[in-house]
């Protein structure tokens, strides 16, 4: 009796495909990946039973040395039941995510990003504020001094406006950046309502591939 290579190859392929799918963002793909992974593992478990042999049933005239090891099969049965339960839970979670946010992508942790970027934001804001204040002080001193410096005042005012615009622009960009991560959540109910009427979840999930 010889071991079969086919089981190892199939198990390995399923494992590889499952891992690839697990690295995707949509929960549905992760779900499919986990199913493939589970099945691949089960097939690999089967290989530990050794070469093919008679069914492990006593009392059928088979010699105990010619029957296959039944323990891996018991492992597989247990693992299948567990995978089923986990798959059911993941399906529910993917559906709930889609229902709430119109997409079943796994989202980044907002708090994590916030903490990571806080230092950068603070620094930039301080710098811009300082620049703006300089211009404003210059402008105010000019305003306070002479009537005939109106031209200089206008120039300074324009420069002030420019500095303020730039400050605001950068500030807005920073804000938009921080908000972008919540964009999906923000359009939650609207998208869910729209898509509930016209198309099916599969459209949303597989839409990226078309």
């Amino acid at each position: 009796m010889t071991l079969t290579l086919a089981l190892v190859v199939v198990g390995g392929t399923l494992f590889g495909a499952g891992t690839t799918l697990l690295l995707c963002r949509p929960l549905t793909r992760i779900l499919l990946g986990s199913v493939l992974l589970g099945n691949g593992t089960n097939i690999l478990v089967l290989t530990t039973a050794g070469a093919a042999g008679h069914a492990p049933l006593l009392g059928f005239g088979h010699d105990t040395s010619s029957i296959v090891d039944p323990l891996p099969q018991a492992f597989i049965l247990t693992a299948i039941v567990i995978t089923l339960a986990l798959t059911a839970f993941l399906v529910t979670m993917a559906y709930r995510a889609w229902q709430l946010s119109g997409s079943d992508d796994v989202q980044d942790d907002v708090e994590d990003i916030r903490v990571a970027r806080r230092a950068v934001y603070m620094e930039e804001r301080e710098r811009l504020r300082a620049t703006y204040n300089d211009w404003r002080e210059a402008y105010q001193s000019m305003v306070g001094s002479e009537e005939e410096q109106r031209a200089a005042e206008r120039r300074a005012y324009q420069r002030l406006g420019k500095a303020r615009d730039r400050y605001r622009e950068l500030k807005d960009r920073a804000r938009a950046d921080a908000r972008a991560h919540r964009a999906r959540q923000a359009r939650a109910e609207q998208t869910a309502e729209e898509t509930a009427e016209e198309d099916d979840p599969w459209e949303t999930i597989l839409g990226a591939d078309r």
């Binding site: 697990l22 929960l27 992760i30 986990s34 992974l37 589970g38 593992t41 690999l44 478990v45 290989t47 530990t48 323990l71 891996p72 492992f75 247990t78 693992a79 567990i82 339960a85 986990l86 839970f89 993941l90 979670m93 709930r96 995510a97 709430l100 946010s101 796994v106 989202q107 942790d109 907002v110 708090e111 994590d112 916030r114 903490v115 806080r118 934001y121 504020r129 703006y132 204040n133 404003r136 105010q140 500030k171 807005d172 920073a174 804000r175 921080a178 908000r179 919540r182 959540q185 939650a188």
Partner: protein, 595 residues
């Protein structure tokens, strides 16, 4: 059982499966009862968990006096049947974990009633919680690797449900991260078990030591890496810990507390068991040491950077895992002794701290340190409840955190290798940085003057716009609009963005208790991610008088934590005996095999 067990021992071996069976039975009973008989249901949960605590205590005493207690499920012999074993380590873990889960259950009852969420916790939370307890007990008692896997899975499935209670977007996001990582670790665990089975032909833990000794070193190391990797994910040690601070903080306080206290320690327990029983002459000592060091330092540096209290505590959890891994990596009796003591201490302290955070959220409406303040005057009891476990965690001398760290550091010095000394230094630094992080929490949340809105109890701090940058820039924008461009003040934002308002006033009123009725109070939005505090994922209503059962159970757990300090002498004797038993290996093996 030919070893001539006494009457007490044979009774005790019949008790071994009870910590698994009783909670499962209670969970089934609750599902059958459904939403009726709420008071009876709460009583069932508490009575069952109290019974489990008593059973665990009996097992602890018997296992200490008579050696490991073994239960052969269905009377089948070890290679085929399922074996449950309660030795000193298992029994100690059982006692600590069930005591803590009982405390958290009482706390969650208080919270559920305070939030007027009678039905939700009972129909979903209680059964899942009991299944979780059963899963944790099963992993501690499992006598074979496959049963350990099943125990992990029972625990995981229950934890998925607990983490996504209420199904809000924040919790689904957190749950997705957690579920995917857990799923992957389950698959890897199965692969590791199959590897062990393929190499040795058995998964019974008691048979494995003899079988593994016959294997070549390479195969043993491969098996060890497989198992350690899986247990490392569970225990959240540094390179495998990124999932933890992403997923834990959004859950309700009792859930986060019990997860932080128990689920990671299950990984540490499995490591202790596998390293002592299967791989005594491990070649991975140095790797484990480096992992421990990185865990300690990266975790605590992460904690210092956080502004959200729950996340801060999650990072200290990762950091302090390093201490236990350090003890395991040393692989000396002193190292194991220290690690076991530290596990017992850390389960209690970490759980208590998360429960206190739940109380802080109930008083201050947020867990964001930038929004809290003045709690020491507003609620002195809360301050004391936070202060004791925080100092315990940091390792201030008379407390058990100090004793545990001291034991580990002494074991490191006794080991004498360069890496061990580096770890001793790293451990000391981590202890100091933990103190710094706790001092930061203390200063911001308790010691400084309270923001005005904290006085207005009964307000529901709603969080539509949740970003400090957004808040400030909006405040600035509104200020700029109000001015004519000449008086642009760059000081601290003076105006508060008028976002958020009271929840349904009658609900707020109902939960206020003696507090003044300010249900419709306008409150500024908290920074940080969307808070989700109650079981249903809603915001808590802040109150001045905290529910008695929540305070009571927290006080109980603080005292339980202090008991480790008071009983440190006998406890260290016990953990010493446990470490000896683990290293000797024969008591465990012969208890199972000599039937």
């Amino acid at each position: 059982m030919s070893a001539g067990p006494s009457e007490a021992a044979s009774v005790a071996s019949a008790l071994v499966p009870l910590p698994v069976i009783l909670p499962l039975f209670a969970a089934g009973l609750k599902l059958a009862i459904g939403l009726r008989l709420q008071r009876t249901q709460r009583a069932i949960s508490i009575v069952v968990l109290s019974l489990v605590v008593i059973v665990s205590l009996v097992l602890l005493v018997v296992a200490d006096k008579e050696g490991p207690q073994v239960m052969y499920a269905g009377g089948w012999a070890p290679p085929v049947g399922v074996v449950l074993v309660a030795d000193r380590l298992s029994a100690l873990m059982l006692v600590v974990s069930t005591s803590v889960t009982l405390g958290v259950l009482v706390y969650s009852n208080g919270q559920g009633m305070a939030d007027r969420e009678g039905a939700t916790p009972l129909s979903v939370f209680h059964p899942s919680y009991l299944v979780l307890v059963a899963g944790v007990s099963d992993t501690f008692l499992a006598g074979d690797l496959f049963n350990l896997y099943v125990g992990f899975e029972i625990m995981l499935v229950a934890s998925f449900v607990l983490l996504t209670l209420g199904g809000t977007i924040a919790r689904i996001r957190a749950g997705a991260t957690y579920a995917i990582v857990s799923l992957l670790s389950s698959v890897l665990f199965l692969v590791a078990i199959v590897m062990v089975y393929g190499a040795t032909g058995t998964v019974t833990m008691a048979e494995l030591p003899a079988a593994i000794e016959k294997l070549p070193d390479g195969v043993t190391t491969l098996m060890e890496i497989g198992l350690l990797g899986v247990f490392g994910i569970k225990a959240a040690v540094f390179p495998l810990a990124a999932w933890l601070p992403d997923s834990y903080p959004t859950a309700p306080a009792p859930v986060t507390a019990v997860f932080a206290g128990l689920l990671t320690k299950v990984g540490v327990y499995s490591m202790l068991r596998s390293q002592t029983l299967f791989f005594p002459g491990t070649r991975l000592t140095d790797v484990l040491m480096i992992v421990a060091l990185l865990s300690l330092l990266v975790g605590i540096v992460g904690a210092v950077a956080q502004t959200d209290l729950k996340r801060l505590l999650s990072f200290t959890l990762i950091s302090h895992m390093g201490y236990m891994i350090f003890g395991i990596a040393l692989a000396t009796p002193e190292g194991f002794e220290g690690a076991i003591f530290y596990v017992a201490h850390h389960i209690t302290v970490q759980t208590t701290l998360f429960l206190v955070v739940g109380l802080i959220e109930r008083r201050g409406g947020s867990t964001d340190l930038q929004r809290l303040g003045g709690l020491a005057t507003l609620s002195p009891l809360l301050a004391v409840l936070f202060f004791i476990p925080a100092m315990n965690l940091a390792g201030i001398p008379p407390l058990s955190g100090f004793l545990g760290k001291l034991g580990l550091l002494r074991a490191g010095v006794a080991d004498g290798s360069v890496l061990a000394y580096v770890l001793v230094a790293g451990g000391t630094l981590t202890s100091l940085l933990t103190l710094y992080a706790m001092a930061k929490v203390w200063n911001l949340a308790f010691w400084r003057a309270a923001p005005a809105e904290l006085y207005e109890v009964g307000a529901v701090l709603d969080s539509e716009e949740t970003d400090e940058e957004t808040d400030e820039s909006e405040a600035e924008a509104s200020r700029e609009q109000g001015e004519t461009g000449t008086a642009f003040d760059t000081g601290a934002p003076a105006s508060q963005p008028p976002v958020g308002s009271g929840r349904a006033p009658e609900e707020a009123h109902a939960a206020v208790g003696t507090a003044t009725d300010t249900g419709r109070q306008e409150a500024p939005a908290p920074a940080g991610h969307t808070q989700a505090a109650t079981f249903g994922g809603q915001q808590v209503t802040t109150t001045t008088r905290l529910p008695a059962s929540m305070i009571g159970s927290t006080v109980g757990l603080v005292l339980f934590g202090l008991a480790f300090t008071a009983l440190a002498g006998p406890l260290f004797d016990f953990t010493g005996r446990t470490a000896d038993e683990l290293i000797e290996r024969t008591p465990y093996v012969s208890a199972v095999m000599d039937r």
